[in-house]
């Protein structure tokens, strides 16, 4: 122990590529990570407190601001929670529209992740391509909802806007294109021997880890845990069509990538089915909700990153007395304690990215040598560089 250097590698709180500021301290012996600590709250916006001061309809828009990527996940879970409190069901057309929006979001979120993962590994072509394909989904969002993000489509009792019939063929065409591209990406990932060597067996999570940390979504499904809220506790129109839950068994970063890409294909299937169901329909898109009676309600939604959970309580006034929000990353991020320990620092970038955490990592990375009080700073580019060097080394072996 004495002659081994034990270093603390702080990651955070700021990082330009990921979304929110967080802080991680990696405890290392040489290049190997032996422990990890997580600190959050650098950009805490007190949404739960703010929510207690807004009326029920305003909260839908407030929670949409929680995440800039999967912005529909929170309104979806919140509306489910309030509708659970009310005990109402929403019109069939609104159910399909909710599915379309949520699944389009899943495709663009997963493509964003695929691109970022490629970038971390030094596959910048993958990064460019994935983000280029994602762009067409954002354009579709603009066409349907008026916004590339923060679509404001949801309201308690249904949706706010209908999808116009003339938009449907355009959306179908884009989906058809995306299907080919995602298929190509999936095969590119599955067939690439370098990616397999680089990602297989890296950051493995077992079923036990998933249970202990309460991890959800693609992270859990990549470890062989068969859970998906869309199927298990069906809401919107998910029980009204045929689709399957994507699942793999190994729990490493490679499997997490595969699960996400396979999910995109299922999402396309769901959207296509939903479009067929609403085409030409002039049905209602919302049930009128006037008052929220006293009571409590729970709603959850399978967001791109996993289960998004909302609990609301009403005292009969026009504002919630309590609104608890749980985003999937809240239980996915602590799994780093299991997945990073025993790994090399060069792998940490991709393991941290592997769960697609909604946090902002770091602009720089400092290696602090506890033994001789020497401090060495690594820029984020150097961390990515270390990751890429490892990919290069593997490439040369092939």
């Amino acid at each position: 122990m004495n002659n081994k250097k034990k270093v603390v590698v702080p990651i955070g709180p700021y990082h330009p590529l990921l979304e929110e500021p967080e802080f991680f301290a990696l405890y290392c012996e040489g290049e190997k990570v032996v422990d990890l600590e997580w600190q959050a709250g650098y950009n805490h916006r007190a949404i739960e407190k703010l929510s207690e001061g807004k009326h029920w309809d305003q909260v839908t828009f407030l929670v949409e601001r929680i995440c800039g990527i999967c912005s529909t996940s929170h309104p979806f879970a919140y509306c489910n929670a309030v509708e659970d409190l009310l005990g109402i069901s929403i019109p069939e057309k609104a159910r399909y529209i909710r599915c379309i929006i949520a699944e389009m979001e899943r495709i663009h979120s997963h493509l964003l992740w695929t691109g970022l993962a490629g970038h971390f590994l030094g596959y910048n072509t993958l990064f460019m391509w994935a983000w280029k394909y994602r762009e067409s989904i954002l354009d579709m969002f603009e066409m349907i909802t008026g916004n590339r993000n923060h679509y404001a489509m949801f309201k308690i009792g249904g949706v706010r806007r209908d999808i116009e019939d003339e938009d449907i063929p355009v959306l179908r065409k884009v989906l058809q294109d995306i299907k080919g591209k995602v298929d190509m990406l999936t095969h590119a990932v599955l067939d690439d021997p370098v990616l397999a060597a680089r990602l297989k067996g890296v950051g493995v999570l077992t079923k036990e880890h998933i249970k202990n940390f309460g991890a959800v979504g693609p992270v859990a499904r990549a470890s062989g845990v068969d859970m998906d809220i869309r199927r298990d506790d069906p809401y919107a129109a998910y029980s009204m069509m045929d689709w399957k839950v994507s699942k793999t068994e190994n729990g490493d970063v490679f499997d997490k990538a595969v699960v996400r890409l396979l999910e995109c294909m299922e999402s396309i299937k769901i959207i296509e089915y939903s479009l067929k169901a609403i085409e030409g329909s002039k049905a209602e898109i919302a049930t009128e909700v006037r008052e929220i009676p006293p009571g409590e309600g729970i709603g959850h939604h399978e967001a791109p990153r996993g289960e998004c959970f909302h609990y609301v309580r009403s005292d009969g006034s026009n504002r919630p007395v309590r609104h608890k929000i749980k985003a999937p990353s809240y239980t996915n991020i602590p799994t780093f304690k299991a997945s990073c320990v025993g790994q090399m620092i060069a792998d940490v970038a991709i393991i941290l990215a592997g769960v697609d955490p909604c946090y902002c990592c770091t602009e720089r990375l400092a290696v602090y040598d506890a033994g001789n009080k020497k401090k060495q700073m690594y820029g984020f580019s150097e961390l990515v560089e270390m990751s890429r060097r490892k990919t290069q080394q593997i490439k040369q072996q092939f």
Partner: protein, 149 residues
């Protein structure tokens, strides 16, 4: 046998009250001294999935809801515990559910509810020098941060 019946059978006389909002939303009230045993049964024996815990300030008392998912039934089971207003305290569940460590820290700093047996009850979301006795999610704190009665 429904999930509700199974839980009633397993928890037995530890159940103080139940509320079946619908067959997929089950709320069970237990005493705070029984919470560890109940959570152990739900999490280990019945294989419930830990989702999250949420605390609520009822002005006269505090309430904590521990939410567990039962995905094969598509249900959410919430264990409800009431705590007294003065010196609210409850056993930590960290030795049963390792992942609960962060939400307990969060409830501690935002509501001032103490968790006995927690391995590191320190600030998680708030800064380290956050003033004591100022718990942001209590009802006597305004959104501006002022204390009112």
């Amino acid at each position: 046998m429904t999930l509700f019946d199974t839980i009633k059978e397993q928890l037995g006389c530890m159940i103080k009250d139940t509320k079946l909002h619908n067959e997929k939303r089950i709320y069970i009230t237990v005493d705070k001294q029984d919470i560890k045993e109940c959570a152990d049964i739900i999490f280990h024996r019945l294989d419930g999935r830990y989702i999250i815990a949420s605390a609520i300030d009822n002005c006269g008392s505090f309430e904590i809801l521990y939410h567990f998912g039962f995905d094969r039934y598509g249900a959410v089971v919430s264990l409800r515990v009431f705590l007294e207003r003065e010196k609210p305290e409850i056993s930590s569940l960290t030795d049963i559910i390792p992942g609960i460590v962060y939400i307990e820290r969060e409830i501690w700093e935002l509501f001032g509810i103490s968790f006995t047996g927690h391995p590191g009850l320190k600030h998680f979301l708030l800064r380290d020098d956050w003033p004591e006795e100022k718990y942001p999610l209590r009802k006597n704190i305004t959104t501006g941060g002022d204390i009112c009665e």
